[in-house]
C-alpha cells in the first residue's frame, strides 16, 4: 500500500505545479492581493455591469446551444453505430475519432477556407449563378465550428454506455409489451444517461471557455467569455479583472455540473420516474 502510494507522486507534483499553484495565483490576482492594493472585491464588482453580464449570458447560452446541438447530432449516430456488428462498428467509430487526432486550430482554419467570402462554398454557389453569402464571422459559423469540434466528445461517452448496456434490457422491455419507440424512451435512453451526462460535461465546459473558434469564425466584433478573459490578460493587461472573470466562470461551471450530476444520480435511482 505504502509502496503503491508512491506511484501517485508524479501526479501530485504535476497538479501542485500546474493546477493548484496557478489557481492560487489566479485567486490572489482576483482579490487584489497580487497586482493590486491589497484585498478588495473591486474586480468582482466590475463584472456586475450590464455589458459584461450580457457577454457572460451570451457565452452560457451559446455553450448550451452548442451542447444541445452536439447531443441531438451525436445520439442517433452513437445509437446507430453501437447497433452495428463488430467490423462495421469499429470502422465507423474510428472515422469519427480520427479527426480529433488533428489539431483543433487547423480544423478551424479549414472551416474558414470553406466558409470565407471567396471560400469553397461561395465559389460553388457562384458557379451556379447564385449570390455569395456571408457565411463567416457570425454566430452561425461559430456554432458550426464548435459543434464540429466537440461532436466526438459527446459521441464517445454516449457510444460507450450504449455498447456497455446489455441488449437483454431492450429484449425484456419488448417482451413486456413495449414497442421499439417506447423501449427506446423508457429503457435505452435512461440507461444511457451516464454517457449523456459525461458528454454534456465534456462539451459544455470547454465551449463556455472557448476563445479560439469564436475568434476565428465569429470575427472581431463577437465577444465571448473566453475571449473576454483572454483580452484582459493579453490586450488590456488587467490581470486582476481577468482572474476575477475566470474565478466566476469556474464557480458557475462547477455549480451547473453539480446539479447535472445530482439529477443524474436521482434519475438512476428512478426517483423521478414514479
Amino acid at each position: 500500500m505504502q509502496f503503491k502510494k508512491r506511484f501517485s507522486y508524479p501526479y501530485i507534483a504535476w497538479s501542485v505545479l500546474f493546477v493548484i499553484a496557478p489557481l492560487t495565483i489566479m485567486l490572489l490576482y482576483a482579490f487584489g492581493v497580487l497586482g493590486g492594493e491589497g484585498i478588495t472585491l473591486d474586480n468582482f464588482k466590475t463584472f456586475f455591469q450590464p455589458a459584461y453580464l450580457k457577454i457572460f449570458a451570451k457565452s452560457l447560452l451559446m455553450a448550451a446551444i452548442c451542447t444541445a446541438l452536439c447531443l441531438v447530432v451525436s445520439y442517433p449516430a452513437a445509437y446507430y453505430i453501437s447497433r452495428l456488428n463488430g467490423r462495421k462498428r469499429n470502422i465507423l467509430f474510428t472515422l469519427i475519432i480520427v479527426p480529433t487526432w488533428m489539431n483543433a486550430l487547423l480544423r478551424t482554419y479549414s472551416w474558414m477556407t470553406l466558409l470565407a467570402k471567396n471560400g469553397i462554398i461561395n465559389n460553388f454557389l457562384t458557379l451556379f449563378g447564385l449570390a455569395q453569402m456571408n457565411l463567416l464571422y457570425n454566430n452561425g459559423a461559430v456554432f458550426i465550428g464548435m459543434v464540429y469540434n466537440y461532436l466526438p466528445f459527446m459521441l464517445y461517452p454516449i457510444y460507450s454506455t450504449l455498447i456497455k448496456t446489455p441488449r437483454i434490457y431492450e429484449k425484456a422491455s419488448m417482451d413486456l409489451g413495449a414497442n421499439r419507440l417506447t423501449t427506446f424512451f423508457k429503457i435505452t435512453l435512461p440507461l444511457s444517461a451516464p454517457g449523456i451526462i459525461t458528454g454534456i460535461a465534456m462539451v459544455f465546459i470547454p465551449s463556455v471557455c472557448m476563445f479560439v473558434i469564436p475568434d476565428l469564425l465569429g470575427g472581431a466584433q463577437q465577444m465571448y467569455m473566453g475571449k473576454l478573459i483572454q483580452h484582459q490578460f493579453f490586450q488590456k493587461g488587467d490581470w486582476g479583472f481577468g482572474s476575477a472573470l475566470a474565478v466566476i466562470l469556474t464557480i458557475v461551471i462547477l455549480t451547473i455540473m453539480y446539479f447535472i450530476n445530482k439529477y443524474d444520480a436521482d434519475s438512476l435511482k428512478g426517483e423521478n420516474m414514479q
Binding site: I168, Y169, A172, G177, N179, L268, K269, G270, Q274
Partner: protein
C-alpha cells in the same frame, strides 16, 4: 379437456452457416409445465427467444392459441419471459419494474398499485416496492423477475434457466415455489434448463434437445425409464449404458456372459444394442454364484449406500453397495431382476 396452446412447426434457425435449431416440432398443452432440457449451446435458449418473438426463425411456424404468430412482434404476444440473469431494469425500483407492462397497457394508477401489491404478495416480497433492484439478493431479484413477467397475465410463461444463478438450497426452494405457482395460476410454463434433476422434479413433459434437434419429448418417468438413445439416457439421471447382444424372447447378453431381461420388441435376434441399467439396479457385494466380478475403481460414501464404480473388461459399471470397497479390489455384482431398456444408439 386440455387443448394445445402452443405449437412449433418445423422451426429452424441458422446463425450464418451454423445451425442453431433444426426442424423443431412440438406442442404444448394448456396449463402444463414443460421443460426443455439440454446441454449448454444446444439451442434451447434460441428456441425460447423464438417463442417469445425476440428472434425470428428461418423456417417454420409458431402457432399460439390456434393463430400463426410467427411474424407477430414480441410486444404483441401474450407471452412473457423470465430471463436468465433476470434483466431487471436497473434504473427502476421494484415497483416500477413490476408495473412496467401495466403502465404500457395504460392501466389506471390505482389498478396498477393493486396489481403490483398482489404480485409482490404472490412472490412473498410485500414491502419491497421502493427497493433498488441492484441491492436485492439473487433470490429476491428472481422473485421480482417472476412477478414482472406475471404482471401482464401471460397465457404462456417462458423461463430461461431462471435458477442457475442461485445456490443449491435456494434453488430447491424456488423450484417448489415455481411448481406451486404454476399449479395455482394454471399458466403454461416452458422452462429451459440443463439441470436434469430440475427437469425431472418439475415437469409434466420433458423435451430433450441436443445440437439443435429434439431427441425426445415425454413425461419425466417415461424419459427416465425409456430414453430414446444413449445421449438422452446419460442426460437424464445416472446410468450404465452397456454394450449388449439381443437374444430371443426378451433377453439380452451384457459383458459377454450375463443375461438380463429386456424389452426386445423391435429388435432382431443377435442385434447389438445398448442396455440402460440404472446404478440403483446394480448391487455390489453379491454372493450369488452367477454374479460378475469387476475391479473397483472408486467407492464413494453417499449416506444410505456406497456408490461403487468398477471396470469389467474395459466397460465401466456403476452400482451400489452396503459396504465400502478398496480401489483395485475385486467385487462381485449382480443386476436386479428387472426388465431393462434397450437402445439402438
Amino acid at each position: 379437456m386440455t387443448s394445445t396452446i402452443l405449437k412449433l412447426e418445423n422451426i429452424s434457425k441458422y446463425y450464418g452457416n451454423k445451425k442453431a435449431l433444426t426442424n423443431i416440432e412440438w406442442e404444448a398443452e394448456e396449463g402444463k409445465f414443460i421443460t426443455v432440457l439440454g446441454p449448454s449451446g444446444c439451442g434451447k435458449s434460441t428456441m425460447l427467444s423464438i417463442i417469445a418473438g425476440l428472434e425470428r426463425p428461418d423456417t417454420g411456424k409458431i402457432i399460439f392459441e390456434g393463430i400463426d404468430i410467427t411474424h407477430t412482434p414480441a410486444y404483441s404476444r401474450a407471452i412473457n419471459t423470465v430471463f436468465q440473469d433476470y434483466a431487471l431494469f436497473t434504473h427502476l425500483n421494484v415497483y416500477e419494474n413490476i408495473a412496467f407492462s401495466l403502465k404500457i397497457k395504460k392501466l389506471s394508477a390505482s389498478q396498477i398499485k393493486k396489481r403490483v401489491s398482489a404480485l409482490l404478495e404472490t412472490v412473498s416480497l410485500s414491502g419491497y416496492e421502493k427497493r433498488d433492484v441492484r441491492t436485492l439478493s439473487g433470490g429476491e431479484q428472481q422473485r421480482v423477475a417472476i412477478a414482472r413477467a406475471l404482471a401482464n397475465e401471460p397465457k404462456l410463461l417462458l423461463l430461461d434457466e431462471p435458477l442457475s444463478a442461485l445456490d443449491l438450497k435456494l434453488r430447491k426452494e424456488m423450484q417448489r415455489e415455481l411448481k406451486a405457482l404454476q399449479k395455482a395460476t394454471k399458466i403454461t410454463f416452458v422452462y429451459v434448463t440443463h439441470d436434469q434433476n430440475e427437469a425431472l422434479s418439475l415437469s409434466d413433459d420433458i423435451i430433450v434437445i441436443n445440437k439443435g434437434s429434439i431427441l425426445q419429448k415425454a413425461p419425466p418417468d417415461e424419459i427416465y425409464a425409456k430414453p430414446v438413445n444413449s445421449f438422452a439416457a446419460q442426460f437424464i439421471g445416472d446410468g450404465n449404458i452397456l454394450n449388449s447382444v439381443v437374444m430371443d424372447n426378451g433377453r439380452a447378453k451384457v459383458f459377454g456372459t450375463a443375461i438380463i431381461n429386456c424389452e426386445t420388441s423391435g429388435f432382431k435376434k443377435d442385434e447389438t444394442a445398448y442396455a440402460l441399467i440404472r446404478p440403483e439396479n446394480v448391487y455390489f457385494g453379491s454372493a450369488k454364484e452367477n454374479s460378475l466380478t469387476a475391479k473397483v475403481i472408486s467407492s464413494i460414501f453417499k449416506g444410505e449406500y456406497y456408490e461403487i464404480t468398477a471396470d469389467l473388461n474395459g466397460e465401466r459399471i456403476k452400482g451400489r453397495s452396503e459396504k465400502a470397497f478398496e480401489a483395485g479390489q475385486s467385487a462381485k455384482f449382480e443386476f436386479k431382476d428387472e426388465i431393462y431398456h434397450l437402445m439402438r444408439s
